[in-house]
Structure formats: structure tokens, C-alpha cells
Symmetry: D2
Subunit: 357 residues, 4 copies
């Protein structure tokens, strides 16, 4: 179904931007895991609006409440339901736009597909839905941590400004020290300046998130159709505003096989590859090297500038969005990318267990 | 499961490169469709080895046999099983390599995951598996054709040589007239020259396939996790050698929202967008514009040059592959990309029907 | 996954008897349906504890709150999340039993499978989980009503007392007029007397629910493995305390084919069968006749009598349950059977739509 | 999808009674299992027509051919495709009936649902489809055998003649020694006599199969909707001609809780129950006791007697089936029941592995 993700560790999400709240059910979480609720809340805080001057100034606390599946602090193997209740609802901001189709939003397609739509802030198509992903991803991260698997994402491009050195050359501990969540502190400053100037104009700007999974064992991923990178791609492409996904050498295809084949060698008993153009995945299955991939985000569709469009009656109209919006989704997208990667990795880990008699 | 694709129109594939054959079962195909078996065979012929000097010289006829699901030439609503029997099996070519892990192949990951592997020509991880996709895709294409939906792919990059004009500027009827399947006849010549020179060296080269879906109605795609482009991405990334997927503006993210928002207008009663940076999909749902995307392929991992690697015992070994292999996967990947796109589109069409009470 | 039911109209449920509440998410409900919330609450009231002297005296209001998926009273095609918050929580009743395995409960199997268990009132294995089914079933019933499909269940056996005339001989409007929900008012009185006497002893008693689906069109049900009756059977057997399912002639197998073959005839243009030993389903697909089936319920496992068992340490212990429990699950099971039948029927209806190109 | 069964160990079946053959794909079988092909063929032989005077006299060899998933005799973790090619095809027997709807067959429902039907011998709705189940079940049995789990079914009722002693009182080694596959040799003789007399009249007769699963560990089964007995029920009800399923005390509900609660005790360190009214399953999860259940089969619909019906035009017609048919499905249903039980058990075993982090 369209609102569920994963097979063995499955998130089913619900909720709209201006309804009661956004939440989900995790089905398949192993029992006996002592959840660190503070960690989960901290992950949510990384995603929340109003965290810096570079994001929307909407100040939503986004506190998660768990509704089931825990007993005395541990998972019980039953569904873990949770909800982040919507606090401030300025849906009045949207009244003026309820009958028109905002460009590059889902207004028109939802309206056409369903015959009606929740016009309060994008409803279900709002990026607020990713709240559920971050909570579930934080649960997954805790399971992965016990397996020695870590996931780190950072903003690697904003507009023309790139942090494009090899990820291994960066000190990941700096990522959370700048509001852009860029792994290169100097580039981060330039990115922040660009976002600030874009925000001042009421415009928006696109970018790229790079993500690295370290510590994954050999063997995760299910051939043929549920390859590890196909699942990661599907996960990333399901995030609002994502337009592309590449892993390993990606679109940098102007190479000969003799250049980019990853040669195996024996590293004191461990079989490794000397290079990693494969991005840690061969034949759809992790090979023990770092898994890395890049995710392209378009500029946020909501701009605070006058735009042309049509209304439900097909009449041309001019409008200008008001309210508080992100000039650049990248800083807040970083934890969402990590969360989706975590959901994929734990799912593949559990699916792999199901392959063993 | 890992060997099934789609929800309402589901392909489950089977088979290895050097076993009995490669085939599949299509479950969910509507009844009463008079299948054009010649068309299906023609699609297979577009994928088959030995079709030109640019591909492997293995000359496999690849004839499909249908085993069930048809009665008096029409689909009956029951599973459509089919098989392409493997004809020539020179698995002896692989004997020398059966105990070593070929670089950038799935040898090592399969062996590690499963504890053993079918070492005859890659077994299940061989691109020969895509035979099943092309057959099922050809069935899907016939259903889509009746719905007015067409799918066209072409090679848009080989190494550094690009056919990077907007797809609308090309005459698609030329694609099948050159062995590269490039939409630009002049560029096709250069691509062919490059592939020929790469082949002469025993090397391989990567590239990009561009695909365009035309005629899709508004409303295809399932939010939130099964967005149309997420399904397309998952489909493409499941194809052997694919490293990246982008749709619409893709990784070309250095733009402002004010530049790339697709403005709606009323085109004689039809609501359309003036530009199509969205790639025909908004909020995960088709908006009636052309759907277009690009798929990155790495160079084929099998090169006819000496390479280092390790064997099962972890010992360093030097080897050189023999036999007949593709110097560039792009020309034969074109029908595979189209087939996977067709599977996604028909699945979304049928799923959309299941949304209607 | 184990906590989801249905393919096209899917309920994922959550919650424990003594946690925050019990609820669920419905994914796949068509858009534009004006939900009658009063009807849904009324269905819940049919299931709620404390509704008569024959049921547990726990008086829980069981009010449903919808959390998402509705806009201005209509479904939007997005997930419909809901919760029935747990009101009174006398989990102290269970403290004395938290370390022992109650006979014929799920205590032992849950503890063994998961390594721990929520011991407050059965946790997830409590029949309170059926709250979610009744809410989702009530939504399904509204969709079915618009399609002319009605579902009626009644208590047809309590201990040795049976209402075993053909269902067609009963006036279904009497069912809700007696607390047993028996279709035969005279038999209902005897059933009530039996339940009352069983309750006085602190014991419990089993029984049977009969269910009839009327108005289903020809063609619902998916061969081969998801036959309509297989889905109904799976649905019923997933209800707490159910031990058997039969439809049509069921276990009454001492018949010749020549006796029980249902002969077709032309009833003024409509093809019908003169008898209905098939139970309205042939080859797994509805044939337009009434669909009827019977569901066997064991006596409730919680009895207010001294019982032997062992504790977690494997030591023999004697215990006696306290609190308020149902002496017979049948009266409250009737709406649950109907709800599960409704979930199956709407799922099959929507799946059938997905079969049409 | 409707032609797939199981989640972790999934069979997708295909084929019609008079087409090319009947087969399937097993996806999810663990790697490294040395399949005993003779055993698989032996299981097929237990199902095959013409094996005794009590079954149809059609003499079909039913030899299975494996098409993929095996390498040097072992499973590789890839899809195991197989086919039993149809040998003799006397579809001419069905020509006279191609335009009419045979009573209590799937002719009418298939025709109505799909708009056409394969009229050669029932096509996909033929019990010949169970060939695929027996092959897949035989693979599952080998995995289960290594886990110490055995599955034994026998005919426990034919018409009014019952073998209704507790299963534990029978010597299972006698089952295959009589053509009825009854666990009671003396009752078997009476059953055989009845079937012979029924056959002489061209009529058919119903019955019951009892099945016992021994050696299952505690913990198999997925609450809430995929309970072990719900999956078993769904599996059994998907078999042609099945009308009912009960496990443990089943429909024998005229009991008090105090009578049928299964008391736990410590059997030298193993927690067991003194009785087994639960049928080895509590809360949907196996508890380590024997799992037992009963499956009701209606009489075969094809009788060699004159019958009334209507044709596609709705006109009344009289017809009489010819050819060779089973007078009683029970003897050949026994291996099918076992096979489906095996598919459920191995699926639950693997799913349980997926629950473990």
C-alpha cells in the first residue's frame, strides 16, 4: 500500500499538516529493545521547523508521543504507534489559496486523483509527513547502532555551492555544528549566506544531500527487484522534493570498466576492495565497504513572490503565498534522508534473517 | 519478495544465465487481452545478444514460449507464465573463474550471502535475467497502448558523448535506425565509433538512457511511499549496472524556485503547465505532462583484460575473462528501461482503479 | 505483516488492553465518502463492554476519535487513522498474575516468542484489539451499503442451545432486540438463561456465530490462494477465541454430489442456483447468491475459578482470576464477525476493480 | 496477489489442467539445501491420478522438472521454478460442455468475472493446480524435516464413515498402506467400499481430512492477523472443494471454560499442557504441543449423471459429464493438505527469524 514502507520492519504513516497530527505504526520491530526516547526526540528536533534562521520560522515543538508497543520502556514485538500532535495551526494562511493549484505542488494532481483535497497547508502532501519517517527512523537507528551500523548525511550542495570532496576527507563531527548541516565548515558558511539571500528575496533554492552508511555487514539486500540500492532509491525518491538518486559512481559514467572496476584484495583476512566505485553494493547486495549515495532536492515550491496559475474552474489567477516557509529544504532534509536510510537498512537486515533456515 | 515486481500487475521472474532458461509469471494481467506474440518477440529481439557489432557476438535467438494464462490467443485473467529457454551454453568459459571473485560483479556478495553461488556466467545475477522483464514489459506495453500511453527510451550518453538536447527536439522514429539506439543520428555515429574502439581494447564504457512516457493520464502514482517516480526509480535501479536515476530537473538543482516552478495554464479546457521541470509528476502523481527520466549505467564489469582479485580462499589471483561480452550495455538496455517503465505504469493504472469504489 | 489486514483496503491495527488506547490506520479507502460517524460509534457500542448483564460489567465508553484522512467530513483518499482511548485501567487486577501463564491464554506463547510480554490484561493479545476491527469494519460497511451489500451476523449456538433453522427463516430485525444477538427470540431467552447461570458459577461457555452477506455481486474473490472464502476464513480465524470456520455445506459432508450440486436456472434473465450448498461462492468467487458461513468460538479462557498453572520459573502455582470478564464472548463477537466480513468484502471489491484495464 | 502464497517462503503458481503444464516459482527458499528430488517426485505420486481404483483412472505420470534455483543439487537462494508438463490432454471430453455452466463448478463465476474462460477441463480452476502446491510443499517438508517438524494427514471421514478416535491412538505408518489414506485400517476398508459403490453409480461423496503437525517449536505464528491457525485456515480453504476448517476443539463448542482450559505443567523442565484443546496454538502462536486440525471437503462436483443447468445464453440445458473423474477427492487430497501445511509452517519459521534483531 502507498502509505507503508518496508517489508519486515514496516512503517505505515498517517496525518496531514494541519490535522490532528502526524504519526505512524511500526510493525515488525524486534522485541526487547530499550528505546531511548530522548534520542528519538533529538532526531525530531533536527527536523523541526524554526531551528535556525535558515529554516522556516514556524516554531513547532514537535513532541512525539508513543501510543503502543512499549512496556516498561522496552519494545514488545507488537505495533509501535506514535503521534506528533500538531500544535499551531495557522491554516488561515491557506484560505486564500484553497481554490487554486499552486505551481509545482501536489494541489492539482491530488485534486484530480481524489476529486477533493485537504487544502490546509498541503494536507497529506506536505513535507510535514516526514515527521513520521524521522520517528521510525530513529527507532531503526537504535537497532542499527547495536549492529554497528551508522548513518551520516550532510548537505553537499546548495545552488551552485558544493562540498564535493570525497566524504572521507570530512570530519563528520562538524556537520551538526552549522545550521546548513554541511560537512565542510567553510563551505557551510557560503551556503548559509546564499540561503539567507535567497530567503530575503522570498525565493527558494535546491541542493544535494550526501549520505554514508558505515559498518553494514556483507549480505544486505535482496536480489533481483529489491536490491539494496533500489530500496534506498525508492526510499529517497519518496521524500518530498527529491528529484534524483545516485550511488557509487552514479551519473559520473564517463569511465572505462578498466578504470572503475573495484579490485578485491585480502586485508588481513577480510576481503575488501581497493576502490569503491560500487558504492558498497554489488549485485544489489552490500559488500562490506561504505555505502554512499547522493539525493537531489529541487527548490521548495512555495515562494513568497507573485505567481500565475489557474483555479479549480480553470480560470487564470495571480496569487502570492504568505506565511513562514523554508527557503531551502536541505538542512532539514538531512535527518529525513538518514531516517529513510535507516528504515531500509534495518528492513534488509531482518529480511536477510528470514532467508536463513 | 525480492523476485517479484509490482502490486496489481506483478512479475515474478526466475532463471539463470546458464540454466534451463529465464522466465516469469505475470499475475494480475486483466482478462480478454488479445496478445500480439509477434510484438513480444520483437521486443525480445531488441534486447537479444548478437544483434549488431556493438553488442556481444553471442548469437542467442531468445524465443519466448508462453506456458499458461492464454486461451484462444487471449489472456484469461490467470497467471501468464513464460520461458525463454537458454540455447547455447558455453559455461566452460567460466570454469577458470569459478573460484574467484570477479571485480565489480556480484560473485563475492552472492557467495557471502548464500554460502554458494551458481558460477556459470553470473547465474541469477547475470543481465540475462532482464529477458523476463522485457517479455512482461511487452505485455504491459500492449495494455498501455490501448490506454494511449507510449514509452520511448534512447541512449543519450556513451562515455563523454552526449545527445543532450531536449528530448522533444528529437525524432524518435530514428532511434531504432542506429545500433546505439540514440535519438540523434549524428551523435549515434560518434557513439558507435567510441564503442567500437572500446571493444577493440577489450574494455567497456558507461552511459545514460533517457526515457519518455507520453499520454499518461492525470492521477497515476500512489502517495506517500509508492510515488510514481519512486516506483520508476526502484524499477530502474533494479536493472543490472544502473547507478543512478533522476526525473524532471533531476540533479540540475542549481535553480531558484521562481525559475523552475511549473506554472499552470488553461489550454482550451485542459489544465497544463508551461514548463515541465516537474517531469510530469507532482506529489508523486502524474499531472498529464510528459514523464521523463534518465538512468545512469556503469561500464560493464566484464573486461577482456588482465585483472587482479582474490579467490574463495582469499588468495590474490590474476585472471583475464574470455568469451563474448558487451563493450557497452546501453544499446541493449534501452528496451529493458522501457519494459520496466511499462511495468510501473500499468501497475499504477490498475492500482488507481483499486482506489475507486 | 502480522498487524495488517487486506490488500486494497488495508487495516493496520495497534494498541493494548491497558495502554494508551487501541486504534488503527485504514489505507486505501476511496476518497469522497461522507462518513457517518454516528454509525461508526453505534457499531462500537455493539461491541463495547458493559452493554448488558450477559457481558463483562466493565463499563468502557469506547469513543472513537479520528486523527487523519477526513476533510470536511469526507474521506480524502489518504490514511484514516483513529484511536479509541483506553479509559479505565484497572491493570492492578493483573498484578498477581504477571509472572504466571494463564491456561489457554497467549501468556506463555507471547513470553516465549518475544522474551517479555505486556502483562496488563493480556496486552496486545486481548480481545480489546477487536475495537480497531469494528471501527474499520464500520467504514467498510458504509462503502458496501452504497454498493447494495449488507452483512448480518447472529449468535446461532451457545453451549448446547442452537438456533439452527435456515437463516432465511429468521427475521433479522429481531437480532439486536435481545442481548444475546440471536436471530431466534425464543432461543435467545434460553441462551441468556444459560449464560447467566454460567456467569454465576464464574465459568464460561462457547458457541457459534452465523453470518450472512447479501447483495454481493458476481465476481468477488481472487483465485487461487485468495479465494473469497479463504479470505473470510482467515479473517474469522484471526478473531480471538475462534476455533473453526465453515461456509455453505461446511462440515456437513455426508452427502452425494448428486444431492448437493447447485443447479443453475434462469430467473428472468438472472442466472441463479436452485439450492445454495455452495454458500454463494464457487471456485473462490461469489456467484450472486447469499454468502453464509459459521464461526466457532471457544469458551473465554478467563474463568473466575481456581486453576493450576506454572509461572515463569516453571514452578507450579494455583491462582484465581478476579475482575470483570465475559462469561460468553458470543454477543459481543457478532459485530466483530460482521466487521471482519466487511473488510474482506470491500477489499475484494476494490481488488476486482484492479483487475480491469 | 491471488496466485501467490506465503510471505517469506512464497509459492507463485501457474497453469491450467489442459494447457502446457502446471508449475510454480518458490521465492525465499534458503540457500544450501540439498533437495531430494526423489522425495519430491514421491510426494507428487501420492497426488497423481490413476494411483488406485478409488481415484480417477486417468493415468498421468506427473513428472516434475526443475527449471531454476538449483546448482549442483543444492538450492542457491534464487527462485526455484518448476513445471509438471501436462501429458495426455483429452480436452475433447469437454467440448460438449464448453458453452454451459456445470453445477457447483467455477464455470459460471470465472466466465462472469473474466468475460471468458478456458473451458478445457476447468482450466485454472481445476484441482490439477494443486500439483504446484505438492511440489512446493515437498520442498518445504525437507526444510521442516531438518528442523524436526513432521506433518501427517489422513482421511478421517468419507460420507458417514468416520475414523474419529483421537489421532494419537492411530499408527500413522498404516496410512499409506491403504488407498483411502485412512489412519484406521478397518475403517479404511469400509471407506473404500463406500467409494467403490459411489463410483459405480457415477456419483461422488464428501469427507474430512485430519492433519497433525508434530515437533513445531514454541513461537511460530504472527499475531494479530497472521495467526498460525488463520494462515493454516486460509491455506486449507484455498484447496479446491474445501468447505470448512477447524483446529483444536473446533466446532465442538459445547463446553465450559473450566473443562477445556489447557493447564500448564512442568514436564522435566519443559512447559507443557495436560490437555490440548487449544490444538497446539495459543494467541495465534504455537505452544510446542501437537498442532492438529480438520478440513472438510464437499463431494466432487463432476458426476457422471444427467444434470440440469443453463448455457452462456441462459438457456436451460441437460448434460451428462463423461471421462474419468474422482468419485471422492479425499485420498488424493491428503498430500495436498500436508503440502499446504508445510508451506505455512516454513513461512512462519522464516518470518519468526525476521523478528529477531
Amino acid at each position: 500500500m502507498s502509505n507503508s514502507f518496508g517489508q519486515a520492519f514496516r512503517l505505515t504513516s498517517f496525518g496531514e499538516s494541519h490535522g490532528r497530527g502526524v504519526g505512524g505504526i511500526i510493525d515488525g520491530c524486534p522485541a526487547g529493545v530499550a528505546l531511548d526516547l530522548d534520542f528519538i526526540q533529538a532526531e525530531l528536533n533536527r527536523r523541526r521547523p524554526g531551528q535556525s534562521s535558515l529554516t522556516t520560522s514556524r516554531d513547532e515543538p514537535d513532541v512525539v508521543e508513543f501510543l503502543s508497543g512499549l512496556f516498561e520502556g522496552k519494545t514488545t514485538g507488537t505495533p509501535i504507534a506514535f503521534c506528533v500532535w500538531n500544535a499551531k495551526q495557522r491554516s488561515g494562511d491557506y484560505d486564500a489559496m484553497k481554490d487554486l493549484f499552486r505551481p509545482s505542488h501536489a494541489d492539482y494532481t491530488y485534486y484530480h486523483k481524489y476529486g477533493l483535497r485537504d487544502n490546509r497547508g498541503g494536507g497529506r502532501s506536505s513535507a510535514r509527513e516526514t515527521v513520521a519517517r524521522v520517528v521510525a527512523g530513529a527507532v531503526a537507528k537504535q537497532l542499527l547502532k547495536d549492529l554497528g551500523i551508522t548513518i551520516t548525511a550532510y548537505t553537499s550542495q546548495v545552488g551552485p555551492i558544493k562540498a564535493d570532496k570525497p566524504y572521507a576527507s570530512y570530519d563528520f563531527s562538524t556537520i551538526e555544528q552549522n545550521p546548513v548541516r554541511c560537512a565542510d565548515p567553510e563551505v557551510a558558511i557560503k551556503m548559509a549566506e546564499l540561503i539567507t539571500s535567497v530567503k530575503a528575496k522570498g525565493d527558494t533554492i535546491g541542493g544535494v544531500v550526501t549520505c554514508v552508511v558505515q559498518g553494514a555487514p556483507v549480505g544486505l539486500g535482496q536480489p533481483v527487484f529489491n536490491k539494496l540500492h533500489a530500496a534506498l532509491g525508492s526510499a529517497m525518491l519518496s521524500i518530498n522534493a527529491v528529484k534524483g538518486f545516485e550511488y557509487g559512481m552514479g551519473f559520473d559514467v564517463d569511465h572505462f570498466g578498466s578504470e572503475v572496476n573495484d579490485v578485491f584484495y585480502n586485508d588481513n583476512g577480510l576481503i575488501r576492495t581497493r576502490t569503491n566505485y560500487s558504492g558498497g553494493i554489488q549485485g544489489g547486495i552490500s559488500n562490506g565497504e561504505d555505502i554512499y549515495f547522493r539525493v537531489a532536492f529541487k527548490p521548495v515550491a512555495t515562494i513568497l513572490m507573485e505567481q500565475q496559475t489557474v483555479n479549480k474552474q480553470g480560470e487564470p489567477v495571480t496569487f502570492k503565498a504568505h506565511g513562514r516557509h523554508d527557503p531551502c529544504v536541505l538542512p532539514r532534509a538531512v535527518p529525513v534522508v538518514e531516517a529513510m536510510a535507516a528504515l531500509v537498512l534495518i528492513d534488509m537486515y531482518l529480511l536477510n534473517n528470514a532467508n536463513q533456515a
